[in-house]
Symmetry: C2
Subunit: 231 residues, 2 copies
């Protein structure tokens, strides 16, 4: 039995069950483990000596929260994270970076600031859009995405590369082209054809939930929080 | 400069700064990372094939919460955790095990149940007393600790072996004798003479806090959440 690729609806349903039914994880718990997995996957591929400066791009939702937790962990690992977060979020998800260096990150949609940040970055962590993304890409992201792509920096995308349809993939051709993908809990339908390095993270799905949705997740090695998927 | 061993007061102060000042971590975030570190340290030493059954002993405070998070992670790693929790806690810290197998763990002070659990366990995770422990050992733990010691099972203690004075160590001689110790954030004064395998976990102290308290923490390897201390 092969691993299941999730529809947007099923991804949403699993998220809700994790937070409302199967033992009620708090969003802090899920985000902590998801963000840690993203940071560890980036660190596995991009050594901090050669790629010390990470531009962490965050959307206004939970995906952006994962990115901020990842940024804090990357800081703990010895990287220098810079946050690009052009749109404010509605919840407490912007706390994690303050935890790292006691500093606020006011949302900024300053294109020239983004250009500057890109010019001093070695790798991008893309945590802009997640599995609840529905196109088209709206402002301010419509101007940011081409800049990220144009930078030619390596990109690590979280869950679904920003700009891709969650189920159809990069059909519009306007999405980012990541080198590395970190699928959280299980990969989404839209990334079936992704052929870069592909990691699984979010090792928190209870067995009951995995069986209920027939996810057929592969076995993580030892006590690792990430697992690299091979063809 | 060598690593600082913490007084009970300083450990308390660091905890408070983490939760109230330095970016205000939530208790869920701290517990998730602490519990993960404990589970990973146990897994590093006790292979799940030879030591599949872990008796996780939890106190009523935050230390017990770390133990429950560790139990959930141990379950994810493929161990079979059993919880011994004789005294109810006051907060939400008992959620994590429900997250693992959708099951409640009513506090039980049933000595024969503990004997049974011990007879089918391969290793003990001791998360009973933490850095806020002040002796003497009271009921129901005064009867539980001798049973744990008498089992001759290997013991992994979290932060401070249960029954030890946080600053003076096992001065009363009534504490557990762990084979493995996981110190969270930084070791406490009482474990200076501990000579088993000693891990550091809780990789979340911001640089500013580390410097303020002159902790001189050693550098964790790569993106690991635990670090083994060597003499």
């Amino acid at each position: 039995m092969s691993m299941k690729y999730l529809t947007a609806k099923l991804a949403q349903q699993i998220d809700e069950e994790l937070m409302n039914q199967a033992g009620a994880f708090s969003i802090d718990q899920l985000m902590e483990l998801a963000g840690l997995a993203c940071a560890q996957a980036l660190a596995r591929v991009y050594d901090k000596k050669r790629y010390p400066n990470v531009l962490v791009c965050c959307g206004p939702g939970n995906q952006g929260g994962d990115g901020l937790v990842a940024a804090r962990h990357l800081g703990m690992f010895g990287y220098t994270p810079t946050i690009f977060m052009p749109k404010p979020g509605s919840k407490d998800i912007y706390q994690p970076m303050r935890q790292y260096e006691d500093q606020d990150y006011p949302p900024s949609n300053d294109t020239s600031a983004l250009r500057d940040a890109l010019s001093s970055s070695n790798v991008i962590l893309d945590a802009i859009f997640g599995f609840s993304f529905k196109g088209p890409i709206r402002s301010p992201f419509d101007s940011a995405l081409p800049l990220l792509s144009g930078s030619r920096l390596p990109i690590v995308s979280v869950d679904i590369p920003s700009g891709w349809d969650v189920e159809e993939g990069n059909v519009e051709g306007v999405g980012l082209q990541p080198d590395v993908l970190v699928s959280l809990t299980a990969p989404k339908l839209g990334v079936r054809s992704f052929n870069g390095r592909h990691f699984l993270g979010g090792r928190f799905i209870p067995k009951t939930l995995e069986e209920k949705f027939e996810l057929n997740l592969p076995e993580y090695p030892g006590s690792d929080q990430i697992l690299e998927l091979k063809e």
